[in-house]
Symmetry: none
Subunit: 269 residues, 2 copies
DNA sequence: TGTATCGGTTCATATATTGAACCATTGGTT
DNA sequence: AACCAATGGTTCAATATATGAACCGATACA
């Protein structure tokens, strides 16, 4: 591990819950000698990445981040971070992968990618996703702001015989979704489409959108569903990271519960 | 210079105007060997501070900044209270308004806003402001901690023919700044830029940063200068209040003196 | 075809990093 | 008031780690 890497690793110990860290505490957290940690912190302070609170002598994140975060946002639009995970998702599942973003109370299609594996594939041809009738929508209802549910309950147009059209049924499905960490919709919007969806979070750590796989319904098997779930987890982690967020512990726990039996899944980078 | 410091210094080369940098170009900018630069960039990439654009192979700032900037702002709220006063300042003057914060002995760019009034406008494209060559820097020297002057006097690189490069001239300018309550710099850093700057104070009632207006030099008239001064006062009071501080009486008195007499408002000759 | 870039890799050299032991202060306990 | 256990910060010999010239393969260009 390079000296620079050790230095950078120090920054990861500063969080919302522990925004100020003294030298000794930082040593313990980093598991490194005090002199070493001190020099590393000096380098960080020099560059504006940490600053010392004059009152407490403890260190906190510095002002340089604001400027650099601004440049990052200007450089990389949100869509750019979605391309690679979606590609992997579509490849691994052989189905259509897509991402939607929540803006206000509407889920907008942001990007989609079709796998070339099969000659039949699902094409997403809507700009916005109905909340009650799609896996993405259920995901938003389960993990997004609560006002979405009030709005969705008001009008639930029927698209297919499978569409959920009663508030009770909707709430039941949302409960299952919360417990699982994924949403699922079989033919609720378009007849032959089976969809699975996981939430994405941004730098506010709030629900920001969904990543989904839309399958031709006749191809769905338990094995494929499992593969899709596993890769949805990876894609969600990857996109969430790229958008500057972190997956809430409660979601990770739900995923772990749904995927028991598989080895630990590494985040996508 | 430590290896970590060299690594961190690489990040300062990424700006809005140069958001993506290839390995070779980064070597030249950093003035360092390619292998060294490569390893440093690797360490940065590992930590999420840069990422490689797969298409161009060039590097750009990474997603880690979004999270860290958010934590910084939650720890030390600075940016939140700056938006509104800057907006008013930019609107009222028709020029570019910006805020810098002092951390240690360095002035970091915090936020900026360009007025849409004119088709030509000043773009702030630096992360840190040189103390001797900018209005913000002069402001820090005049109203900030005394050790800044020792530091600034040591190295005063010349950026333009107008740059102050002798300690005597610098001290003279600082004296004028103290007396006026504003700093002023005409083309000292970039040739066609005329800048005016007022200090900001935080909850310790010590100098915490600057609020400035950067004008296209050819547009500066005594009338515009007066408007800028008046609105700088308002912006400084507003931001100082928001940061939990209060403007020292001595500064208020200096402002009052500057804004009654007309001669003090004349631009630098 | 030859040349000049580019991103990335290797390896001997020597320079910069390391941590135990050491201060000087501070704040709480007896 | 003396004591103790923290804290932030410093020193120096030992050595682990960073360094850069030279190299590689790929690409672009003329």
């Amino acid at each position: 591990m390079s000296s620079a890497a050790k230095t950078l690793a120090l920054l990861s110990h500063f969080t919302d819950l522990r925004p100020e860290i003294g030298l000794s505490q930082l040593c313990r957290l980093a598991g490194r000698d005090k002199a070493t940690t001190y020099r590393h912190v000096q380098a960080l302070e020099e560059a504006g990445f940490v600053e010392q609170n004059p009152a407490t002598k403890r260190y906190r994140l510095g002002p340089a981040f604001l400027q650099l975060a601004r440049t990052r946002e200007r450089t990389v639009p949100r869509k750019a971070g979605v391309e690679a995970p979606l590609h992997m998702l579509a490849e691994a599942t052989g189905e259509t992968a897509h991402v939607a973003v929540l803006s206000g109370t509407t889920l907008y299609a942001l990007h989609q990618l079709e796998s070339v594996k099969h000659s039949t594939r699902v094409l997403i041809d809507v700009n916005t996703f109905p909340l009650h009738a799609t896996a993405s929508g259920l995901c938003a209802l389960a993990f997004g702001p609560t006002e979405l549910l009030d709005l969705a309950s008001k009008t639930m147009p029927r698209f297919t015989p499978e569409t959920i059209t009663t508030p009770d049924a909707l709430e039941g499905e949302i409960a299952v979704t919360r417990q699982r960490g994924f949403a699922q919709s079989s033919g609720g919007y378009e007849h032959d489409v089976h969809s699975m969806s996981a939430p994405i979070f941004d730098q506010t750590d709030l629900f920001a959108g969904t990543v989904s796989v839309a399958c031709v319904a006749t191809r769905v098997t338990p094995e494929l569903a499992r593969i899709i779930y596993e890769h949805l987890v990876l894609a969600s982690r990857g996109i969430t990271y790229n958008w500057g967020g972190s997956v809430p512990d409660i979601i990770e726990a739900a995923w772990a519960g749904s995927l028991t039996g598989t080895e630990a899944l590494e985040p996508m980078t």
